[in-house]
């Protein structure tokens, strides 16, 4: 190191007052790279996105199929989009828990001391999580096919349904990221997330037809964004039809991101 001498004045002159969009993008992608490395080295992180769709799809199909639709096979077109929504949402929940765990590690001290965009440590893992959503969604459909589901929407419809589910999961992950920046421990993130997730997925049209519900519950179910996602995905997977429900789902996604992304960054900065 004696070969290169350090020039402080040049360094001061070079120093940028804020990260450029190109810097920010590179930093997000570097953090995404870190997250994928971590995933590959801790394969148990894939349990929730691989085993859960297999298990839940089979369980729900055989338990509820006969009661709700008369047979497993006739229940599948109703259920698979529902379980897809549930799977992707549960996957997005893990984002918050993992962020919380991560923030407590020593390496985050260094991230804070580096001249990097404050959104990068939050957005990077979320970019990597797109992989997890896609795996979870694909396995759900694969399991459905194995049980005898023949989506009427064809390949394009199914791909559309997966895409919409992935987008929704990614948007909702900002809520859990936000939780991850405020909660005191990974366990509390997990607990609070569960409390949000269970009503959101089960008080929707994901598993049962809405007209079987009492009026007050049906009213909530109709405004629940998860219901919109499930309806939109049913239209896509079963009829290759992009319905107005898809539009509502995307509007909900945009609102969630617009509120929770800036809030997460603000709360993350508060740690400084």
């Amino acid at each position: 190191m004696t070969t290169i001498t350090i020039d402080s004045r040049a360094a001061v002159a070079r120093a940028q007052s804020r990260p450029s969009p190109a810097d920010t993008f590179r930093q997000i992608m570097t953090m995404a790279w870190r997250a994928t490395k971590k995933m590959r080295r801790n394969p148990e992180q894939f349990f929730d996105v691989t085993l859960q769709p297999i298990l839940f799809t089979a369980m729900f199909a055989y338990i509820f199929g006969g009661a709700i639709s008369g047979s497993v096979k006739s229940y599948l077109p109703l259920m698979i989009p529902g379980i897809l929504a549930q799977t992707v949402l549960t996957t997005s929940m893990a984002t918050g828990t993992q962020l919380r765990e991560d923030i407590d590690k020593g390496v985050f001290d260094r991230f804070r001391s580096l001249p990097m965009a404050r959104i990068a440590p939050l957005a990077g893992p979320m970019v990597a999580d797109l992989l997890r959503y896609t795996i979870a969604a694909t396995i759900t459909f694969g399991m459905g096919l194995a049980l005898g589901y023949r989506p009427g929407g064809g390949v394009l419809g199914v791909v559309g349904a997966i895409l919409l589910a992935v987008i929704t999961g990614w948007s909702l992950a900002w809520v859990f990221t936000c939780l991850g920046t405020v909660a005191r421990s990974a366990q509390s993130v997990q607990g609070i997330s569960m409390m949000i997730m269970f009503p959101l997925t089960f008080l929707s049209n994901a598993f049962v037809p809405v007209d079987t519900l009492p009026g007050w519950l049906a009213a909530f179910v109709k405004v629940n964004p998860v219901s919109h996602l499930v309806s939109a995905d049913r239209d896509l997977a079963n009829h290759a039809h992009v319905s107005v429900e898809a539009g509502w789902t995307l509007v909900a996604c945009v609102i969630v991101i617009a509120v929770f992304a800036p809030l997460s960054v603000k709360l993350y900065k508060r740690h400084l």
Partner: protein
């Protein structure tokens, strides 16, 4: 020339506790500046404020003339921070860690890789380049951590207790590395609770106690402020300690520092000539001694003289260190006054 670090009236309060309570610092370029103090004195808190990791509650600070409060992003491009606990990623290998930090700071992928290889070689970590950090020893982690702070060759390095918990050999290597850094034009601000470390490395030292700066100067100046010399007596087993203290007090008119567990008695000395008086006095009082020595005062004694209490007293009073530091063996644990 602009100072590397300029701080005025820094304050950080956690609730009612003022962890840093009005500290001024002025550090020139190319200096190794030591901040010395016991656990909980506010060293780490002060360093975190300067490194943009903690909000400055009151006061002003600038790094090479760049305001820390107003332009934290620019400040972060001028500094490298190596904390008390290795801030590298456990899941990645050494190379991957350095590559990642390079990329995050705007180096191309290729340059990041080259810089990583070069730093690993310089820090003697080439053999461990593809090992995961989880398999690293404490000393290797510290070295990697320091390497990670040097990727963009920032002109100012903050080292927070760089050798706490390291074995003596690794500690010596770390000291060498720090000296090399300064030789390349870097300015270093280091905190330490090891008095000999500040003495060995730092050109100037600030002594911090309970959030305040109690003294500043070169190691020699600090020592001279206490007295030129110290007489170090080790009493024979079974010798009467209070009698020995009385004799010393009578002969020199100075208050001795006692460490009964190790049979040690230290006292400041005007000139070496006075030793004979003390020894004769002890002989006449019938106090036997095991060994006797005359030396410049240690920084322990400096600290004691400056603050009126010894360095081990402040444990757990202030939220400076989140994890208790290791035992400070070289500091007398109990000092009778």
């Amino acid at each position: 020339m602009t100072a590397a670090v300029n701080a005025h009236g820094l304050v950080k309060a956690f609730g009612d506790v003022r962890a840093v309570d009005g500290i001024d610092l002025d550090i020139g370029e190319g200096e190794i500046f030591g901040v010395l103090g016991p656990n909980g004195a506010g060293k780490t808190t002060m360093l975190k404020m300067l490194a943009t990791l903690l909000k400055i509650d009151e006061g002003e600070a600038s790094i090479f003339g760049v305001d820390v409060r107003r332009e934290p992003h620019r400040v972060r491009q001028l500094i490298g921070v190596t904390g008390q606990y290795a801030s590298v990623d456990e899941n990645l290998t050494a190379t991957e860690n350095l590559w990642m930090f390079g990329r995050l700071q705007g180096l191309s992928s290729r340059r990041s890789r080259d810089t990583a290889a070069q730093l690993l070689e310089q820090f003697g970590l080439t053999d461990a380049a593809d090992k995961r950090i989880a398999q690293f020893s404490g000393g290797m982690r510290r070295r990697l951590d320091l390497a990670a702070s040097l990727i963009t060759r920032p002109p100012l390095i903050f080292l927070d207790e760089p050798t706490t918990g390291l074995d003596p050999r690794t500690r010596g290597q770390m000291w060498e590395t720090i000296r090399d850094l300064v030789a390349s034009g870097c300015t270093v601000l280091l905190t330490t609770q090891y008095l000999d470390e500040a003495d060995q490395l730092a050109g100037r030292i600030a002594v911090i106690d309970r959030g305040r700066k109690v003294a500043e100067g070169t190691p020699d100046e600090l020592k001279t402020s206490v007295g030129n010399l110290t007489l170090q007596l080790r009493l024979a087993p079974g010798a009467d300690f209070s009698l020995a203290a009385d004799v010393v007090r009578r002969q020199l008119g100075e208050e001795p520092v006692l460490t009964p567990e190790s049979g040690q008695l230290n006292v400041a000395l005007e000139t070496a000539d006075r030793v004979a008086d003390v020894l004769i006095g002890l002989r006449q009082a019938g106090v036997h001694i095991a060994s006797v020595g005359v030396d410049k005062p240690t920084l322990d004694e400096v600290f004691l003289a400056l603050t009126g209490h010894d360095t081990a007293e402040d444990e757990s009073e202030q939220p400076d260190a989140t994890v208790p530091g290791p035992m400070r063996k070289e500091i007398p644990q109990e000092v009778a006054r």
